[in-house]
């Protein structure tokens, strides 16, 4: 079979002049009733971006409040609601769906050489469930909010809070189904719809990480669903699953909640690691060092992630022996995570790296994720955890993982695949500026919080002792820089939709099935089903081919 792929395609046809998924059909209903995974990815992109802005608003209001030691801008009740809704919006409606439902939806079938996900209608249903959940969540926010913290700990959530706990948990419940359906689709598609010749070890690492994510979504989310149902029943009927007056145990709620919500951290970070692998390979033009180790470390993280939940309960009165075991298992998760970081580093070693925007974000990701991961080990250490529990140290730690990790990698991914999604390039100079602002703003916001937490500033209060003010002002200043860094891409990416340079098939000269089809891809992704005869990240083969061409 004579095969060839055009690199650095400079034909660069105007996207509008090719037949693609964007101009296949027009009109409102061709979008909201679409079964095309690429259009559903766009629907998700718009929805999660809206939720990100809403969640960001709450964050900015909190940082504004924390400029001064006095609780002067927001009352303590309002502040409670704001940190709760910041957490709920960002976790359930942004971080969990963002990479799987946007980038995964768009790319997984293309990377597998398939025409669509296995269940296109279920894919659309998952978006509708997400929207229903988001609307319920927004109604709750507008009608008075909720103040339990995003964890809904009982008995406060069941007996004492007079805010909209039911509506919020119901929204979380519905959003969970959306997440489950996405995971189900990814598992079946990866198993059953790979192109001829595309064996498991030829899969891009993004697919491996999506697969591992899907396993966690499928096995963890239903436990959250049943836990939230039990909470809703308890609150509504005044009966007690977790009510001590009837012999119920509030700590059981915490166990069941974190059985989902700790693995949920891996729903957020595993896809980010997948993006990192793709971007590192493309911008070093090398095969990822230790491909199989990176692939299996995703599964190891997914597996071990289920065995560490009680490290959130070290101060909740669990036995010291189970605490020791959970501390040990939490340390164990660091091993597969470190395997990934070391392998990316080894790939970068002696590589000639192209410092374009996606790579800048991924360099930020690797550094910030490492800091977030290592401080996670501090928190998994029993003695130290008791000192910093419920302080800003914890806040800084998980923001390094979620924001420094997941959001940075998402921004890398959206820039890397933007030419494929839209057919146009983003403006490189502005994008680099934004990447720099995000990195500087992020560190300025959250690094002082490590110090604040270590010095003993508790989280979740709108007022604080005056000696913490300098670090808090730094943090709030950083948040402003971060906000500009996040606002810039929204502006220039929208601008590029009309004015960006046409991207062509493969603007990065990258290897991968998504770079063999036109930009934007046609509705059926490929004009004919691809037959895969090469390994993943076959950059050595590609460089050899380039050398041969130059010799001709």
């Amino acid at each position: 079979m004579s095969t060839s792929q055009t690199l650095y395609d400079v034909r660069s046809v105007e996207p509008a002049r090719t037949r693609n998924y964007l101009n296949e059909d027009y009109g409102f209903f061709s979008w909201v009733l679409t079964r095309d995974h690429k259009r559903i990815a766009i629907l998700y992109l718009i929805s999660v971006s809206v939720m990100f802005v809403i969640g960001g608003f709450f964050a900015m209001m909190m940082r504004l409040e924390l400029l001064t030691p006095e609780g002067d801008l927001l009352t303590s009740d309002t502040y409670n609601k704001f940190f709760t809704m910041h957490g709920i919006v960002m976790i359930f409606f942004f971080l969990i769906p963002v990479i799987p439902a946007v980038l995964g939806n768009f790319l997984l079938p293309i990377m597998l050489g398939a025409k669509d996900l296995a269940f296109p209608r279920i894919n659309l249903l998952s978006w509708y469930l997400y929207v229903i959940a988001a609307v319920v969540g927004l109604v709750v926010i507008v009608t008075g909010g909720v103040d339990t913290g995003w964890t809904f700990y009982t008995p406060f959530s069941t007996q004492y809070s007079n805010t909209h706990v039911f509506g919020t948990t119901f929204a979380g419940f519905i959003a969970g189904f959306s997440s489950i359906l996405t995971g189900l689709n990814f598992i079946v598609t990866t198993h059953r719809m790979r192109a001829p010749g595309l064996t498991w070890y030829r899969l891009p690492l993004f697919v491996w990480s999506m697969y591992a994510t899907a396993i966690v979504q499928l096995l963890a989310t239903p436990v959250l669903a049943i836990t939230l149902i039990m909470l809703m029943i308890e609150r509504t009927l005044g009966v007690g699953f977790f009510d001590p007056a009837l012999g119920g145990d509030p700590v059981l709620y915490q166990h069941m909640f974190w059985f989902y919500s700790h693995p949920a951290v891996y729903i957020m970070i595993l896809p980010a690691m997948g993006v990192a692998s793709e971007v590192v390979a493309a911008f070093t033009r090398k095969r990822i060092f230790g491909y199989k180790f990176v692939a299996f470390s995703s599964l190891a993280i997914a597996f071990l992630g289920f065995l560490v939940w009680a490290h959130h309960l070290f101060v909740a009165g669990i036995s010291v022996y189970s605490a020791m075991i959970f501390a040990f298992l939490s340390f164990a998760v660091a091993i597969p995570s470190a395997i990934k970081v070391f392998n990316w580093t080894a790939t970068l070693y002696k590589a000639s790296v192209s410092w374009q925007t996606p790579m800048l974000y991924i360099m930020g990701f690797i550094g910030l994720f490492t800091i977030g991961g290592v401080t996670g080990l501090f928190l998994a250490s029993l003695g130290l955890d008791i000192h910093v529990t419920d302080t800003y140290f914890v806040v800084a730690h998980f923001h390094y993982v979620m924001v420094g990790g997941t959001v940075m990698a998402y921004l890398a991914g959206i820039h890397y695949w933007w030419p494929k999604i839209t057919g146009r390039m983003y403006p490189e100079w502005w994008a680099r500026l934004a990447a720099l602002l995000v990195f500087v703003g992020f560190n300025l916001t959250f690094f002082p919080q490590f110090v604040l937490g270590y010095l003993g500033m508790p989280r979740r209060y709108h007022a604080y002792a005056p000696e913490f003010q300098v670090l808090n002002v730094l943090s709030s200043a950083g948040a402003s820089v971060l906000a500009i860094g996040y606002a810039l891409p929204i502006v220039y990416l929208l601008w590029s939709l009309k004015n960006g340079r046409p991207a062509g098939i493969n603007p990065w000269g990258a290897v991968g099935l998504e770079w063999t089809t036109s930009s934007p891809p046609p509705k059926e992704n490929f004009h004919q089903t691809p037959v895969v005869t090469w390994e993943a990240y076959d950059y050595p083969g590609l460089l050899k081919a380039m050398g041969e061409t130059q010799n001709v």
């Binding site: 095969t3 060839s4 792929q5 055009t6 690199l7 650095y8 395609d9 400079v10 034909r11 398939a114 669509d116 296995a118 269940f119 296109p120 279920i122 489950i180 189900l184 079946v188 198993h191 059953r192 719809m193 499928l218 096995l219 989310t221 239903p222 436990v223 669903a225 049943i226 836990t227 149902i229 039990m230 009927l237 005044g238 009966v239 007690g240 699953f241 009837l246 012999g247 119920g248 145990d249 059981l252 069941m256 290897v511 099935l513 063999t516 089809t517 036109s518 046609p522 059926e524 004009h527 004919q528 691809p530 090469w534 076959d538 083969g541 590609l542 081919a545 380039m546 061409t549 130059q550």
Partner: protein, 238 residues
């Protein structure tokens, strides 16, 4: 630079080239290669979904066992408040419905239209009978004051009453979730009866009936756990 080619990957035909369409089965969706792939995908999809269902019921069963081990006396007394005979009859009814469901799959594979409809109908009858008996039990519990919360007025054993109320919260919660799955299954049965009536199933295309069967059997199996948990395990006699 535009002419650099790489011999490892597939070509990109010009966009004008449109794939020719072969005539295919009316129920083959466009994104699958053939009916076999479609069948395998939908079967794996249902198994995957059932995995999440196991974790869903598993969560509340875990909580049930935590309290069962913490309060064996209350749980023992509470089990005796259940109508073991009706629960047993319901178990037999449900297992019979699984038999007729399995026969419906068999008839779909053979493409015998009226027999598929008949077997699905029988499954629906047995499923409805189960729900009817369940409603009768619910009514009896309600009258006895065994509905937790403000409606609770069962007070024969004041010492254990709060914990028996906890047991009954699990009883209502678990059986209601199970019944909800049955109702969804009944709706699916009606839809599939209509599809079978339209002669949509046959030796080439019976996957949906098989997948529906997997769901039905799963709901059956959940009850196989609930019956002993809630009715049969007494711990020790009082």
């Amino acid at each position: 630079m535009s002419d650099i080619t790489y011999s490892g990957q597939t070509p990109v035909p010009p966009p004008e080239v449109v794939e020719e369409h072969h005539p295919h089965h009316p129920f083959l969706q466009h994104h699958f290669e053939d009916l076999g792939q479609q069948h395998e995908a939908s079967t794996l999809g249902m198994w995957t979904f059932l995995t999440t269902e196991i974790l869903f019921f598993g969560g509340i069963m875990l909580a049930y066992w935590v309290y069962r081990l913490a309060y064996p006396d209350a749980w023992s007394v509470a089990s005796t408040l259940q109508n073991t005979r009706l629960g047993g009859i319901n178990t037999i009814v449900l297992i019979t419905s699984s038999l007729t469901m399995a026969l419906a799959v068999r008839e779909a594979q053979l493409g015998r239209r009226l027999r598929i409809v008949a077997m699905l109908f029988l499954t629906l009858i047995f499923g409805s009978l189960f729900l009817g008996i369940k409603m009768y039990e619910y009514h009896a519990h309600w009258v006895e004051g065994l509905f937790p919360g403000t409606a609770w007025h069962w007070n024969e054993n004041p010492d254990l009453a709060p914990k028996i109320q906890l047991f009954m919260t699990f009883y209502w919660g678990m059986t209601a979730l199970h019944a909800l799955h049955m109702v969804i299954g009944a709706g699916l049965l009606l839809w599939f009866m209509w599809r079978a009536w339209k002669d949509q199933f046959g030796p080439e295309y019976y996957g949906p009936v098989e997948v529906m069967g997997l769901y039905w059997h799963f709901v059956d199996i959940v009850w196989i756990f609930l019956y002993p948990f809630l009715y049969l395990i007494h711990g020790h006699k009082h």
